[in-house]
Subunit: 319 residues, 2 copies
């Protein structure tokens, strides 16, 4: 059975058609998050047309549509309950109605960090265990948790997703989520200028560098710049404390860390693993820290798995 | 069906016989945690004899034995995997063999914070919702989490129990769990002297008071002592940040806080509720903070529920 899989990000929309774990074709478009959501839906429809056409697929041979996106997703009713800034109108959108009316197909929706976790579990660094925590390091910091092969959702579909908003520094800064001293507010890229400024020698560093981002910071660290090294270490401590909190919360075998920042995994991963080995409370086991496999398609694999799971479940329920 | 329910604490062992949610009789004994665990088991047997005798119950009319205790409990195999300091020999003890050989009965085991949560859910402040987080404030700080009416266990039976060991102050003290800046190491009674000393005016307060515990601190706060008030507020912040982390981890409707310290719930609860209202990230709902109902028997109710659940499940499995 072929599924249409869509990863609706804040910057790009990626769409793919998957059959028996083979990605037959994929395409993408800007997500136009400054436009009305109805326009975004038109883009989705164009991408779907393209998938069907390029793979010569009739719509009636499609099993279902899978759609993942940021925000809090009610996976039982396919509604977006909350989403930060981008695609806010998605909260009002009737995804079930759209998939049913336009394509006569069922739709499966999920938060994008959760589908990335499922993708890693099926095709990536999560293979071999059913107890996984994911931490996504990007503009914001997100996450997901799987226990015994089941994604954790919680009553209001928030469980597992808010690891970036665990307080790790009670004397820290206000986060844009409203909480204080979150992993995110103590380490995310949007805090970078002030985090550098607060480090001794940081003001001078900011003057030397016209623009500074994580990539440049890690490069400077490799070149032996001590101020950059101190900034990076403070940030890696925050990430690692966040990971220990996720381990203490969800009791996994493995933690997978994703995000473009993991291009510097040569520095980041050993630091995180050492911190976890030293500080995580694990009675009789060791938790491994891994970097996400390097592919843009991981969330597509994840949502494809969830579509198949739902279709199989409905078949079983009707037997 | 009558069940034998035992709460094996670090200080006392409480035992009760429960039928249809009626506690028919209960008794207790010191837990002798400095003695060999085989001696502790003899005490358990004496308590069970007493329960049977006083309620004129034949052993063959008992459904099962429920036993809760601190530590990491493998609830699938009824083994204690780890336990702090007290009753360490329980790790080697064969509870299934004991219950089967001595009483020809099944045994159900669980961590004591989890059974307290189940007790609150069935008989206490957890009634009316199936999504609950528990925080136990005592010598140490523990917890438990229930999602959709199911206790969260995790792969290694640690999930939900380690809320006291979430890092909330990355610049804080080493905890006796090995981690740094835990809720526990920043607020537990064993840290009280140093927490007072670190507060401006604290050294003088320690000189004035021959012994100082949480009760005295809250009494001083009520009397208007500003130093005590500052110490108490710093500690309540740590507890509250821990609660927000538990909310962000498990997405409950309600948080229940237990421990003798909640005698001062007049001060503690409003502080926690205000903190949660202000800082917890909840899309479309409000999380309530409640104090545990004031009874020593809550864990007995909880373990009784779990024994009945297991027996019913076995009946269903065999149909």
């Amino acid at each position: 059975m072929r599924n249409i899989c869509i990863d609706l990000g804040g910057t790009n929309i990626k769409a793919g058609i998957i059959e028996n774990d083979q990605l037959l074709y994929s395409c993408s478009a800007p997500s136009m998050s400054d436009q009305s959501f109805l326009k975004v839906v038109l883009v989705l429809e164009e991408l779907i047309d393209q998938l069907l056409e390029k793979t010569k697929t009739q719509i009636d041979s499609i099993g279902g549509i899978g759609l993942c996106m940021p925000g809090i997703v009610d996976v039982d009713n396919n509604r977006v309950l909350a989403i930060n800034a981008k695609h806010e109108e998605a909260i009002q959108f009737d995804f079930n109605g759209w998939a049913n009316t336009t394509y006569q197909l069922p739709i499966v929706m999920e938060n994008d960090a959760r589908t990335a976790l499922v993708g890693e579990w099926q095709q990536g660094e999560g293979r071999g265990t059913d107890d996984i925590v994911m931490m996504t390091l990007g503009t914001g910091i997100g996450g997901a948790a799987m226990i015994n092969g089941k994604l954790l959702h919680g009553k209001h579909y928030q469980a597992g997703c808010l690891g970036g908003h665990f307080t790790v520094d009670i004397n820290g800064s206000q986060c844009n989520c409203g909480n204080i001293g979150c992993v995110e507010s103590q380490s995310a890229s949007w805090r970078l200028p002030s985090l550098i400024e607060e480090t001794p020698g940081g003001k001078e560093l900011l003057k030397q560098e016209s623009t500074i981002d994580f990539k440049r910071l890690f490069d400077l660290t490799r070149e032996g710049n001590q101020v950059a090294k101190n900034v990076v270490e403070n940030i890696m401590k925050v990430w690692s404390a966040g990971i220990v909190n996720m381990i203490h919360a969800y009791d996994p075998d493995r933690v997978i860390v994703s995000g473009g920042i993991m291009n510097s995994k040569d520095i980041i991963l050993p630091f995180m693993q050492e911190w976890v080995d030293k500080y995580a409370w694990t009675a009789n086991h060791r938790v491994e820290v891994k970097a996400s496999i390097d592919t843009e398609n991981i969330a597509l694999w994840g949502i494809n798995y969830l579509v198949n799971e739902k279709i199989n479940q409905q078949v079983n329920d009707s037997v």
